[in-house]
Subunit: 588 residues, 2 copies
């Protein structure tokens, strides 16, 4: 029993128990392929985050081991990713200049804060907060981030210096420095970019044509970035490009990640908690969606709240080993999956691979041009830019389109943090606006039946003294006041009105504000000498309403069916009319 | 045509057209009664706001005229109110010390900002934002404000100096200064408080007993505060209480309100916009609920979005005439209504009454003790404290109870601004939590019928290869991811599953995120070799889904009825089983 409970927080206890030799060799193979892919990617994303390249390697060691212990996905590969790297650059850049020790400290502190936030959200089971990011907001944010990231790397392809946190700043920075373009860097950068684009699209068919199996072709194509790294290093050495002004990665410290302690300076934390929260949520959403996609392919499951704990542990591990915020990445997880990884142990083996690279390979990367890394990033992120979604959204839902475009616009114009906030805000505002205007219909009886339908759409029978209102939504505080206004408006329109019937067939719940509004409606109708009746109240709703003053003091009656309500009240109205009650015949 | 459109923004054009002599005399009578009530109240609320008493009078002149032009309620009386005065004191107190010109400037700027915000919200028809304040949050806030206000006035009853923005600060301030209590002030304050409590409860029966009609008794009782003012002024003069340390109102500047220009200092606006927004929303909610209550009694209507414009105009008028934030008050509006006011013109006549008082009566108020005003406030606000609501909420809804208690707790402990924010935040969080976990049920066929019911509540027929999921809520971005998890969990539980049927009978709409999730579900099921079918999709939902890739690429079929879906698929499953398809007989 105890081990079951423990296994909830340590999924490793679950899969680790049945670990076999076959699983080991499958995991090892996947780890080797992912390691090869991850080395250039880690360096490149550290560059994007404005950090020394080695920090990208550090962020790809301990975090993977932490995820292997706490994560629930069998195949997710965590580490530095493009969007989170951009957000790190934006947040740390607000604290200090790139290259300073304060900047590095800010990045490490972001990982620590984000780790703690993710873990706390997971322990409190608050994963649902990620729902605040709707699909249109996420896809808008990813598109805009892709554009920002690609633009931010153009300076490395051109070999110039330029900065900026948003698109206008970046573009004007590029424009003013474009005269200083280094031609060698440009040629090398463009060549690497074209090669990597080809690797992405044309390499697989080519490899299949020369005889590789489809799976081997796919795996070999993933080594494209490593090939670009090797080729450009050779070009730098043979053509002596360093002396021609091509910027290189330079000396990378050799050795395992250092033990670092994140800052607990309250001032720094006060400045970083908002970006850390945004990084946490964006990272979580990206990671969970990748993990779910892969889990479904093998009919496995992930647990989103435990995923929060897994990613939290990864980020805390990153902070204590000189790294920066990490999350589950799409490309590397897909490679891990396709390469046949069976358990999170593959991630741990990848960590060993990266650690070995940090120990022995870094001197070989001295001559690696920055432009090659920039080309890697540009090719990777341009696939994030999605121009079809706005078109689809425009046709499908104007509200969702608005949230999407607002997110893209604010992200490009004012940077990633305000972009996310604007997206969440716009989405919530539109949702609340809709939720505060639910549907309700005045209904009347379809002649010859016991059915009641909307008077605006059907030829139905009604009486001027009675109005039947079908409420098509649960009553919550967001729409409670609307119901008051809706009912009182109908009353103000009809001086001859004597009875209001609220038909509750679609009301699944009534919160305290809804109840208050019902009481307010009842009081106001009583003040106007109008009786209020209810019909077709569902069982669970009735259970809660039964004990309240509203039902106890109701001026009218409770009816099980709307047909019964209408006929009973209609007869009562007829009976109280002056003269012969049968004078007007309403039978249809 | 044009006048109709104009009348929407200037309701005065509507009721002003038919203004008769009878209406005039009714309005005049009501105005006289409200004026008498308003003079001590205006002075008292200005004191509560930490402003010179005359500012309360200024805030009761032009704002009333502006509301008469733009407001839609026939009987709402605007002016200074208790809760908004407390909020003003809290916001201005963060800028400067009471009694300084900066403090007054901050109060005037608050009125201007609040006026502009209200008017803009009205023009943009954003009144629904007030829905964010649920009934439990509002009542919690009002209760806590009542306690804070009453506590803040105790120092005037004791004749000591004490401060504080929250309850702990106020109580410790009172405790440390209680030794300096002025006995004359205390006696006078307690006497006034007891008298005013009696006026509120026992005066009406007494006056009826001595021969007044019920209506006259009610109206006379409303003059109680004026009587207290006159009696204590006489006591001060005859007993020479000024020399015994009883604090007096002192010299009030005589004359009409000055023309003031609110500050446009960006620094001040940056500090004040949040409290101004909270004041606007709280004031609007209070005012609209009063206006709706009164309008319903005469079967009239108010227009909430136009009310925003009316209150906005009132606050702007207040800012330009040396006043502070105002809104529609409950007590004075009820008096206005009961006194027979027919049109907003009554408010304009009240403004004239207050202007006359400002011109001629202020010298008479020199000897008015501050303690009398404090007693007026205490008696008025203690009726705001509502201890029954938490008990009702506890029984009715734990979520609403939580929001209520959080609002009271944070308001008392940390002041009004954080209190409102905490209440809105808690309410929204609980709502989103609930919205992200909607109801769905696995359903099966009730034997011998075409009905499908929840498998957990009914004995129904199901098949291991098919799962039918009834979705009981519209799909929005808040619950879209939940549906993905719900479906994939069911799939992970059942290795023999071949078909998923989503029964959409209760789905009224699907937003873009819901559509994305449906597509994700479809892809993941296809990856797992499971077919996805839909049944009972409503017309409007189908209209939108029809053009999407989701429906075009659906692996399974669309069925009009769930019964049809289940029987068709069950037959298909049987047919594909090995051996005799009729081997197992599932007919029930």
């Amino acid at each position: 029993m105890k081990s079951v409970r423990l296994a909830r927080y340590f999924p490793i206890l679950d899969w680790g128990r049945n670990y076999s030799r076959d699983t080991l060799s499958a995991d090892m193979l996947a780890a080797i392929i992912v390691t090869i892919m991850l080395i250039p990617q880690s360096l490149a994303y550290a560059l994007l985050a404005g950090l020394p390249p080695v920090v990208g390697l550090y962020a790809s060691i301990l975090p993977l081991i932490a995820y292997a212990i706490f994560g629930t996905s069998r195949t997710l590969a965590v580490g530095p990713v493009a969007v989170v790297s951009l957000m790190t650059a934006s947040a740390a850049g607000a604290i200090a200049a790139q290259g300073t020790s304060e900047y590095l400290e800010a990045a490490i502190t972001l990982a620590a804060l984000s780790g703690v936030m993710l873990a706390v959200l997971g322990l409190l089971r608050l994963g649902f907060l990620a729902n605040l990011l709707s699909h249109p907001v996420i896809s808008g944010f990813i598109t805009a981030s892709g554009i920002l990231i690609a633009t931010s790397q153009l300076k490395h392809i051109l070999g110039i210096s330029a900065g900026g946190d948003n698109w206008p700043e970046m573009l004007s920075g590029l424009a003013s420095a474009i005269g200083e373009t280094n031609p060698w860097t440009l040629v090398l950068g463009i060549a690497a970019t074209i090669f990597l684009f080809w690797v992405r699209s044309g390499a697989k068919p080519f490899l299949e044509k020369v005889g590789l199996s489809p799976r081997a072709a796919t795996m070999t194509a993933k080594a494209g970035p490593v090939l670009a790294v090797i080729a450009t290093i050779i070009a730098v050495i043979t053509l002596d490009l360093a002396s021609r002004g091509v910027k290189l990665v330079g000396a990378i410290p050799q050795g395992l990640p250092p033990f670092t302690v994140p800052s607990v300076d309250p001032g720094l934390i006060a400045q970083l908690w908002v970006p850390a929260l945004l990084i946490s949520i964006i990272g979580f959403v990206e990671s969970v969606s990748v993990a779910q996609t892969l889990a479904a392919k093998r009919r496995q499951r992930i647990t989103p709240d435990q995923e929060l704990i897994g990613l939290g542990a990864s980020n805390i591990a990153s902070a204590f080993s000189g790294g920066y915020p990490v999350t589950g990445g799409f490309a590397r997880s897909a490679v891990n999956f396709d390469a046949g990884a069976q358990t999170p142990a593959a991630g741990a083996y990848t960590a060993v691979g990266i650690a070995l690279a940090t120990l022995f390979l870094t001197p070989l990367l001295f001559n690696l041009p920055i432009a090659t890394l920039a080309a890697t990033i540009i090719v990777a992120v341009l696939s994030l830019v999605d121009l079809k979604t706005p078109v689809h959204l425009w046709h499908y839902s104007k509200a969702d389109f608005t949230a999407h475009i607002a997110t893209i616009g604010v992200t490009l114009a004012a940077g990633v943090e305000l972009g996310v906030i604007a997206g969440v805000g716009t989405g919530l505002l539109l949702y609340l606006w809709k939720a505060s205007r639910p549907h309700a219909a005045i209904v009347g009886r379809v002649p010859g039946t016991e059915h009641f339908r909307n008077v605006e759409r059907h030829h139905v029978f009604t009486m001027p003294e009675i109005v039947s209102i079908r409420v098509d939504e649960s009553l919550t505080y967001l729409n409670a006041r609307w119901l008051e206004e809706f009912v009182l408006e109908r009353v103000a329109e009809r001086p001859e009105l004597q009875h209001v019937i609220l038909m509750f067939s679609a009301v699944n719940s009534v919160d305290a504000s809804g109840l208050e509004s019902l009481e307010a409606i009842a009081h106001r109708l009583t003040d106007g000498a109008i009786e209020l009746h209810l019909s077709e109240v569902k069982g669970p709703v009735m259970d809660r309403l039964a004990d309240t003053g509203f039902v106890k003091e109701l001026s009218g009656k409770l009816f099980l069916s709307q047909a019964d309500a209408f006929s009973t009240i209609a007869a009562q109205v007829e009976a109280t009319k002056d003269g012969d009650p049968f004078q007007t015949c309403y039978v249809i």
